[in-house]
């Protein structure tokens, strides 16, 4: 899959299973206004895992993701990404860390003045990818999410679902080590939701770790992957092969 996305040949060798991509140790996040969005969260995600992050609105799912891309820093505790303590990473190194992560934001974060193709290419261009590699990589991910026909439309000319898929394409184009998706199917119809999930599963099978926050009970329950449930900032459940709701 990684090779497929960038045109490089050969799949990546899987690291030994004890290799962890993400470790949160006793993490608490308190916002400036005093709101504790995360409390004493411990979480270990080994390479190659597929993890659903569930929980009611306001539970702290997006906050957890912001900590991972170092958009926010933990108030207490440590966050390790690929073995590096994010609190210790100097500011100049942050972009390098972020390039290991493909992020699908809840609010898309597309540039309204750029076309779909340009929005996706943007993520490669601004991180210094050689121009001749950009085109093919973008075409491939656009085909993958089914947006080849809309490639030259701007976000304002897209349906909500198409915007979501554009955001997913942009997260994928970077050939990331871990994909963090914040409710990527929130505005999609069930059919396309399933397609996107299938896509993420395929990517995952090729060794890319996936962490996906979602409210889609059907999907979570059907797939029986690892489920981490947050409530009020605390991890209240972390079971492999779990359902959306507690089952005991």
């Amino acid at each position: 899959m990684r090779g497929l996305l960038t045109g490089r040949a050969g799949a990546r060798v899987r690291r030994p299973p004890d290799n962890t991509v993400l470790v949160l140790r006793d993490v608490t996040k308190e916002y400036a206004n005093g709101k504790q969005a995360l409390r004493d969260v411990d979480l270990v995600i080994p390479e190659g895992d597929f993890v659903f992050l569930v929980g009611p609105s306001g539970a702290g799912k997006s906050t957890l993701m912001k900590l991972i891309i170092r958009d926010e820093l933990a108030s207490h505790g440590e966050v390790f990404l690929d073995g590096e303590d994010l609190a210790r990473v100097p500011r100049r190194q942050v972009p390098r860390i972020r390039r290991k992560i493909g992020t699908v934001f809840q609010d898309f974060k597309l540039l309204p003045s750029k076309t779909v193709r340009e929005n996706v290419a943007f993520a490669l261009e601004v991180t210094g990818t050689p121009r001749r590699q950009v085109g093919p990589a973008v075409d491939r991910v656009l085909a993958l999410v089914g947006l080849s026909a809309q490639a030259s439309q701007t976000p304002a000319q897209l349906s909500g679902g198409e915007r979501q898929r554009t955001a997913i394409a942009r997260a994928l184009v970077h050939d990331p080590r871990i994909i963090i998706a914040d409710e990527p199917t929130g505005n999609l119809d069930p059919l396309i939701s399933w397609e996107i999930i299938q896509l993420l599963l395929r990517i995952n099978e090729l060794g890319v770790t996936v962490l996906m926050a979602t409210h889609d009970a059907d999907v979570v329950t059907a797939l029986r992957k690892r489920v981490v449930a947050l409530e009020d900032g605390r991890v209240i459940r972390d079971e492999v092969g779990g359902a959306y709701h507690r089952e005991d």
Binding site: I69, D71, R92, V94, P95, R96, I97, R98, R99, I101, T103, F105, K109, L111, S113, F122, A123, E125, V126, T127, G128, P130, R131, R170, H174
Partner: protein, 294 residues
């Protein structure tokens, strides 16, 4: 490295045209401000040239004894001209002096008084032009020591007044130029900042997809440079288009051009291009900084 510069230039070019309203507004502001600055600079240059011209008019005049022979007068002229402070010496004979008096009265439309004068009461004189009007003291002393010189006109007061006025004008010109420069700086940096603020979202996305600071900053800096370059180009085109009629106007007005157009063309071009590009770059740099420092 080359790829990076290419990328940044390409993005700058795109950014410029993608946001045409902003770019045109910024470039227009740039042009007007550069016109203002260069206009003031030209006036200031003209003023300084004009003041030097005025200062050159200050002369030390020494009346000679009526008994001085032409030969001794010529020696005196030679001796005076050899002084280091002296730029030029002119000998005015008694007849010339009378003629000048007559001409001066006529020019003022007054009656000629020479018929009423019994004989020529005027003296021959030396008119000494100084290299620097401030240094009249020594020349005065030397001339006073000459036996043939009967009187040296005291120009202390005149020199002081001229020097006060010219130095005042020089200071005022420089002050105004600095103030205008600061205005130009503020306005341009400000305009570019507003244009960058309007693209805060783009910068935010770049940060989040993992673009390094350099990749975020340089396209904006180049875009600022582009605005500066375009602005400077348009300004120079306007200036050179207007220089011909303006020079004619100034010539009509002052009867003499204080400076040659060609001689300042290079300086103006350097000033305009340097200021334009420099401020464009500075403005972008400062504006983007705000977003990176997080």
């Amino acid at each position: 490295m080359i790829r990076f510069v290419g990328f940044a230039l390409g993005r700058a070019w795109q950014g410029f045209w993608r946001n045409v309203v902003m770019s045109v507004a910024a470039t227009g502001t740039m042009v007007l401000m550069l016109l203002l600055l260069s206009g003031f600079w030209i006036v200031q240059t003209g003023l300084i040239a004009g003041l030097e011209f005025v200062e050159q008019k200050v002369q030390v005049v020494a009346d000679l004894n009526d008994a001085t022979t032409a030969e001794r007068a010529a020696q005196l002229v030679a001796r005076t001209a050899a002084l280091p402070e002296v730029a030029r010496v002119t000998y005015v004979s008694r007849e010339e002096a009378l003629q000048r008096f007559r001409d001066a009265r006529a020019a003022q439309g007054e009656e000629d008084l020479t018929p009423y004068l019994g004989s020529n009461p005027l003296h021959a004189s030396l008119e000494v032009t100084l290299r620097n009007p401030g240094q009249f003291g020594q020349v005065l002393e030397v001339l006073r020591a000459e036996p043939d010189v009967i009187r040296v006109k005291d120009i202390q007061d005149l020199v002081e007044r001229v020097l006060t006025v010219t130095s005042m004008l020089r200071t005022a010109g420089a002050v105004v130029l600095v103030i205008v420069g600061l205005i130009v700086l503020f306005i341009i940096v400000n305009t570019i900042r507003l244009a960058v603020v309007a693209r805060a979202e783009e910068i935010e996305i770049m940060r989040l997809v993992g673009a390094s600071d350099a990749f975020i900053r340089w396209p904006f800096v180049f875009e600022g440079a582009l605005v500066g370059l375009f602005g400077a180009g348009i300004t120079l085109a306007i200036l050179f288009g207007a220089s011909e009629p303006l020079a004619r106007f100034m010539f009509d007005f002052f009867r003499v051009l204080p400076f040659r157009v060609e001689s300042i063309a290079r300086d103006v071009s350097l000033l305009v291009v340097g200021t334009g590009v420099g401020l464009g770059v500075l403005g972008s740099w400062l504006s983007v900084r705000t977003y990176l420092l997080r």
